[in-house]
Subunit: 282 residues, 2 copies
């Protein structure tokens, strides 16, 4: 089922901090360019597999695996099993920590989500992800989602042996410059963002800024901006009924023609066909 | 199964505010004298029925019913179906409210638990109570219990039509004097508490104090203290392996002889036989 359960509308998803936790389901191959966000990202592989790059290292996640990536850590989705089903949870630490908790508990939670880690799961934990995905609590979704994320957190606290890989986030990737870069790009992705504006914002020369982006993302500035726009457009194509023109403008393209051309260039298919093919599968 | 899941030891249960939510299972007929506590009390009837008195009105709860009683509201358990199974949850409002919640959500939760109400339940809600009862999260039980209580709360918010009776708490029963009375009695129930000491504490004459207790609880001072002690002793008999002497002293009796006599007088059976009979049933 092609369903996205979110507390906020899709237009608020990209590059913004959410005040409420939310989740979405990835049933299609949606690769993403490198990015970070100000939320903790939890990935659960329901079936198939997913290759994910975190801080330039690739991890192969198998069915039943969870991976959690702290806020501010650069990562990207590389490749997913064609028929694999992946759930993504996004939340802030304060959605799962209560001030009433014992200090030891607060510290344990905070330490856990500061690192990135891969964990096996118990059946009950997969079930929680399903409940999150199917949540239908209207105005009270936030209350319900917080309860389920806290429940999931309890399992990781209670069964630390589930964790098969844990790594402390480095400092390099969370430098202020890189944060500013991603923030600026995602904030302005719907506008006619330019390398000059970014360089100016960062206080870099255009030349240095260009090399910096290339080094950090493996892409040129234009490639990175386009990849980000296409990644967002894909989600909109699959999860909304907005028409192609609306999606082109919503993701910052100056015309439908440009959108079609860039999309085809990156995905080897045009947006309309992409949507038809993917939605037809369901 | 005769299992009590608590975050704190039983000796802390009686007449004290808990900093962690906890729950216990009532499989025996444990009637209780009138009391209030500083926690919200949730009762779930798994099977059978329970008659409960809240602010001097009797309510008949059937299988599948929940009843929530706010902190500070006087209530007592009157009678339970012999083979009925009743779950009791105790928690504070702050265990289910998060500061990140939308203001409307916070207000809705706060309003809900300020009243007392009876509600039907969905199967998922009974399941949550079971999960609470069987919680086995060690040091992180608090985290897990808060998540499950918040989840349960989401259901009441989402499905207000489940509520079949809702009543605003009056002011009368939560007067400072009555609070002080119950607090003082429960704080000193293990000591040789006297009517004089209570009257002195409240600033009442002994004579007025005596009439006041009778009016508010339907019992004389001595009857009320003894009923409270026996109610606590019953729980200890069923849920611990402490011997009779230990239980007698733990509940404030000056000797095993007095404990046996009073217990027999109230329950028509002596403590040892009571334990044997009830535990033998399991």
């Amino acid at each position: 089922m092609q369903k996205a359960v979110e507390s906020n509308s899709h237009t608020k998803r990209f590059g913004q901090i959410h005040t409420q936790p939310y989740s979405f389901l990835v049933t299609q191959l949606v690769s993403s360019p490198k990015h970070w966000q100000a939320e903790i990202e939890g990935v659960y592989i329901e079936s198939g597999w997913l290759d994910i790059s975190v801080q330039d290292q690739t991890y192969h996640l198998k069915a039943g695996n969870f991976m959690f990536i702290p806020e501010g850590v650069i990562h990207s989705y590389l490749k997913k099993a064609d028929d694999g089903v992946v759930h993504v949870l996004k939340f802030l630490q304060e959605h799962v920590i209560k001030h009433t908790f014992a200090n030891d508990t607060k510290t344990a939670i905070s330490r856990m989500y500061k690192n990135y880690f891969i964990a096996e799961s118990l059946p009950a934990m997969g079930e929680i992800v399903h409940q999150i995905q199917e949540a239908d609590f209207g105005d009270y979704n936030e209350c319900y989602l917080c309860s389920k994320l806290t429940e999931l957190t309890s399992y990781f606290l209670r069964y630390p042996s589930l964790v098969v890989m844990e790594k402390s986030r480095g400092n390099e990737d969370t430098s202020n410059s890189l944060r500013s870069t991603f923030d600026f790009i995602h904030e302005h992705i719907r506008d006619g963002i330019t390398l000059e504006a970014l360089a100016n914002h960062l206080g870099f020369s255009v030349c240095y800024c260009s090399r910096y982006i290339k080094k950090k993302t493996g892409m040129t500035f234009v490639e990175y901006v386009n990849a980000s726009r296409i990644s967002e457009a894909e989600t909109l194509l699959l999860e909304t009924n907005d028409n192609i023109t609306e999606i082109a403008y919503a993701t910052g393209f100056s015309s439908v023609q440009t959108f079609n051309r860039v999309f085809k260039q990156i995905r080897n298919i045009n947006p309309t066909e992409y949507r038809k093919k993917r939605k037809g599968k369901k």
